[in-house]
């Protein structure tokens, strides 16, 4: 396939991706660590959608691996963590978006990557993070009528059923 040939010709490595991101969005993106095929970045909540769009269209990041939530109870914040892979460049980027814990809301990236659909639904189900613009933000794993967000740190586990 043509795609593998493209890699051999030398696509964008992690360093180039990081540089282009910083150049384009100096106010939103903060790169924490870069290797030749890994990029670690903190992205501001406001600019997430623009950054994601840029990454998809200009940097060929065509696959979203996962959307995860992290609940920092003591720091009173939440993380939405995006892992995005580029098939043509073989680079995986980690983008961390920090959200306030009392109002965790962030733009949905489902319109960009259809694969994020269920990941975001699951994160909503487990953490209560609301993804604005998601086509169908409903409970997915827990049974109907669940009134708690089980993966939040203030939810005490143990037997319930």
């Amino acid at each position: 396939m043509a795609q593998r040939a493209g890699l051999a010709a030398g696509g964008k490595t992690g360093e180039i991706v990081a540089k282009e991101l910083i150049d384009r969005f100096p106010e939103y993106v903060k790169i924490t660590k870069v290797t030749h095929n890994r990029v670690f970045a903190m992205v501001d909540k406001v600019g997430l959608l623009n950054v994601a769009k840029f990454m998809k269209d200009a940097l060929d990041f065509d696959h979203i691996t996962a959307v995860s939530g992290v609940d920092w109870l003591e720091e009173k914040k939440m993380w939405a963590v995006y892992h995005i892979t580029s098939y043509s460049n073989r680079v995986t980027a980690e983008m961390i978006v920090e959200l306030p814990r009392d109002k965790p809301e962030v733009d949905s990236v489902t319109p960009l990557w259809g694969g994020a659909n269920w990941h975001e639904r699951e994160t909503y189900d487990m953490f209560g993070i609301i993804f604005i613009g998601h086509p169908r933000l409903e409970r997915i794993l827990t049974p109907e009528g669940t009134d708690y967000f089980p993966y939040r740190k203030d939810f005490v586990g143990g037997r319930r059923v």
């Binding site: 827990t142 049974p143 089980p150 037997r159 059923v161």
Partner: protein
Amino acid sequence: MDLSLAPNAIAMSAQEFLAWSKDVMDQLLTASGAKKAVDKITAPIWSWALRNANYPLHFGVACCALEMAAASGSRFDAERLGMIYRSSPRQTDVLLINGWVTAKLRPDLRRLYEQMAEPRWVVAMGECAISGGPWYDSYNVVQGVDTFIPVDIYIPGCPVRPEAMIDGFMKLHKKIHKEMKGTFLED
């Protein structure tokens, strides 16, 4: 024996008459001991048939479902014992629960159990079905299927090996042999 209604038989509706006559026949048979005798004679036949035609429900839940599949493979060949998997609960005798049961699944499983025709048996296969197993502190896992369905045979193991599963079915056969239900399905 209640024959007091007999003179009014003409005044009864057809259905009342049928119910009444069935009642009287029942009482007659029980009192004369005929029922018991028929039970005694036929019980071994039915028991043999029930033992050797145990159709489990084709229902894979989790890990043990793979071992269920392996048990019907050529090395273990559970069909030797007359275990033929059917997909419709109406046609099966054994509900084989081979995995953890969550809050979402519980009503469906209960319904499957109720759709099965008597005589039916439930086999809890693996730790999860017996007691919740490795998910003992989960908020969504039912801690043992015997909390909502009567279980006949427990097969421990995590996951259960095919040999153990076949052994569990042999134990079920023993249990059916002991029950010895007669034609009228009485003891």
